[in-house]
């Protein structure tokens, strides 16, 4: 998962795309250390454990659980992986209105 995520983030650097990680690792210190070591540049929040508040509220029972949202915040895809996932993101990027030029 991680290598593909890194590639995707690099490829879409200049596009309206954001990867947000909600980590369910219980050991915050070692997880943050590994994130730095692995070169994870995208935004990460720690949920505390597999039964952290957000994972509980969103009923996450398998990891990774991935939601793909469009630019309006609507859930468009769940549980896609790899190439299929990236293709879906590319389609959604086409829906994003072009930023107004000043």
């Amino acid at each position: 998962m991680l290598p593909h995520e890194k590639e995707m983030v690099a490829r879409k650097k200049n596009q309206p795309f954001a990867l947000l990680g909600i980590s369910s690792d219980a050991d915050r210190e070692s997880a943050v250390e590994r994130m730095k070591k692995e070169g994870i540049t995208w935004r990460q929040a720690m949920d505390g454990s597999t039964s952290g508040p957000l994972a509980t509220k969103w009923n996450v029972r398998g990891w990774p659980t991935i939601y793909i949202l469009d630019h309006k915040g609507v859930i468009r895809y769940m549980d896609l992986r790899g190439e299929e996932l990236e293709k879906a993101v590319d389609e959604l990027l086409k829906e994003v209105p072009a930023a107004p030029k000043n």
Binding site: Q15, S24, M78
Partner: protein, 272 residues
């Protein structure tokens, strides 16, 4: 049948009577304590060895050599817990032994979800120690308040061919007959989940309604059922993702809605 206080009295008498004093063997409760501590110790050693093996493989960028994996200690402890359970039938110590056997005496994770995604055979396998313990729990400890975790364990087994029949049967009995609300809630959840996950709304719907109506104040409901309902109502394709605010690893707060205008890949994950 001996009532619980009566049994406790007999245990006390056995401990103080002179004839018992000649028997220097420790009582069941003490034996259980030692057994559990020994198991935890060996489990830690096992986990450490396994962790080292995986870390070394990762360092060498190789697949871990699973033939070098030590044997998990469960196997050696199963006969010990069984022997202790047999020595104190009907007591709370027996229940502790049976719950341990239920948790540690099965075929474990891989039997539940085979790595290749193949369905295991529907025909019951040789009865495993976890299900033998489950049967004894149902026979002798149905009224115990300590069975909510047991119900959750049955829920997983209700989704697996081979253990499905017995697990479903036990859950149905617990849901009806347990005098404890938390246990009943866990058992109803255990009946509902496999149906819900299989998309069998006809079975799942009345159980969800029952949980909502009578069990909304239980821990089981708050920690497990509420999430399922939230997911059903808010987290399906086409719905606007519910907003949340969290703090990133640098201590800066952000909201999901801060990312409007961007395609968002929201990833619940972990290194473990």
């Amino acid at each position: 049948m001996t009532s619980r206080p009566m049994r406790a009295l007999l245990v006390v008498l056995a401990l103080v009577l002179p004839s018992a004093a000649q028997d220097s063997r420790p009582g069941p409760a003490e034996r259980l304590r030692v057994l559990e501590a020994d198991f935890r110790k060996e489990m830690r050693a096992f986990e450490n060895t396994a962790r080292k093996l995986f870390a070394e493989a990762e360092r060498l960028k190789e697949e871990p050599d699973l033939s070098k994996m030590p044997k998990p200690p469960n196997g050696d402890f199963i006969p010990k817990f069984k022997a202790l359970a047999a020595d104190c039938q009907g007591t709370d110590t027996e229940l502790s032994c049976l719950l341990w056997l239920f948790e540690n005496g099965g075929e474990g994770f891989f039997a539940m979800s085979p790595p290749n995604g193949a369905e295991p055979a529907e025909t019951p396998r040789k009865e495993t120690d976890d299900m033998i313990a489950a049967k004894a729990i149902m026979e002798r400890h149905l009224a115990s308040p300590r069975l909510d975790g047991f119900a959750t364990g049955l829920m997983f087994r209700a989704g697996i061919p081979g253990t499905r029949g017995a697990a479903k049967d036990y859950l149905a009995r617990l849901a009806k007959e347990s005098p404890h609300k938390e246990v009943r809630a866990a058992a109803i959840l255990g009946q509902m989940m496999p149906a819900y996950e299989a998309g069998d709304e006809k079975t799942a719907e009345p159980l969800i309604a029952l949980l909502k109506k009578d069990y909304a104040d239980t821990k089981v409901y708050k920690e497990q059922v509420a999430g399922i309902l939230f997911e059903r109502e808010n987290l399906t394709v086409g719905k606007t993702a519910p907003d949340f605010e969290v703090e990133d690893i640098d201590g800066k707060k952000f909201k999901l809605s801060d990312y409007r205008g961007k395609v968002v890949y929201l990833d619940f994950w972990g290194f473990w």
